[in-house]
């Protein structure tokens, strides 16, 4: 990386930081818009999962590792699975889903 260790290195880093942050910010806004505007609920869930990932990266860029960690744990571990399970429960009668009796008593 001899070519990068030059007097212009700081300028490079500044440009790259700007590009990275700008792209992350635009991506987050675009994902938020698509998630809300999507008529297909499943696609909205997938976009929401991607939204959580990009949000965690933005927290990381803001040097807020604590919040990035919380967003990663909640977003990847719980929310995606919760939304998918809720979607399956919303439409139990549609063909292609596992029939799950709604509100039936387990005990």
């Amino acid at each position: 990386m001899e070519t990068l260790i030059t007097p212009g290195n700081d300028a490079w880093v500044a440009v790259l930081n700007l590009l990275l942050d700008g792209l992350l910010g635009l991506l987050l806004l675009w994902l938020a818009w698509r998630t809300l505007a999507s008529a297909d609920l499943f696609r909205a869930i997938v976009l929401f999962i991607a939204f959580g990932l990009v949000l965690a990266m933005i927290w990381a860029r803001l040097d807020a590792a604590d919040i990035a960690l919380a967003e990663a744990a909640i977003g990847a571990g719980v929310t995606g699975a919760l939304l998918l399970a809720a979607l399956a429960r919303l439409h139990p009668d549609r063909p292609g889903t596992q029939a799950r009796p709604r509100g039936s008593d387990a005990s």
Partner: protein, 103 residues
């Protein structure tokens, strides 16, 4: 080295943007879900690069959590949301359908 890490992170972010095309296009739910899984892997790589570039070791834990929990969403998907409309009766038929869907 910081600029190299940042450049690589930027490149990986661009591949993530390219992956969004697959989420939008589909055509099946599994395609969209797998694209989201791919984003998880990309995010792990980006976070590890950022941890070096920004000299912030805490970000490695974020990457660790992402890597560890990536499987949960796809398990929920296969167990709850996804079931092929018409179950192909045999493995060759399933492969043929997969090939047809990709075309």
């Amino acid at each position: 080295m910081s600029s190299l890490y940042l450049a690589l992170a930027l490149f990986l972010l661009l591949t993530l943007v390219a992956g969004l095309w697959r989420v939008g296009r589909g055509p099946t739910a599994a395609d969209r879900m797998l694209a989201a899984q791919l984003f998880g892997t990309t995010a792990v790589a980006i976070l590890l690069l950022l941890a070096e570039a920004m000299d912030s070791p805490g970000l490695r834990d974020v990457a660790l959590v992402f890597a560890l929990l990536a499987a949960i969403t796809v398990v929920a998907f296969t167990r709850r949301a996804w079931q092929p409309e018409r179950l192909p009766t045999s493995e060759p038929e399933r492969l043929a359908e997969r090939a047809g869907g990709a075309a």
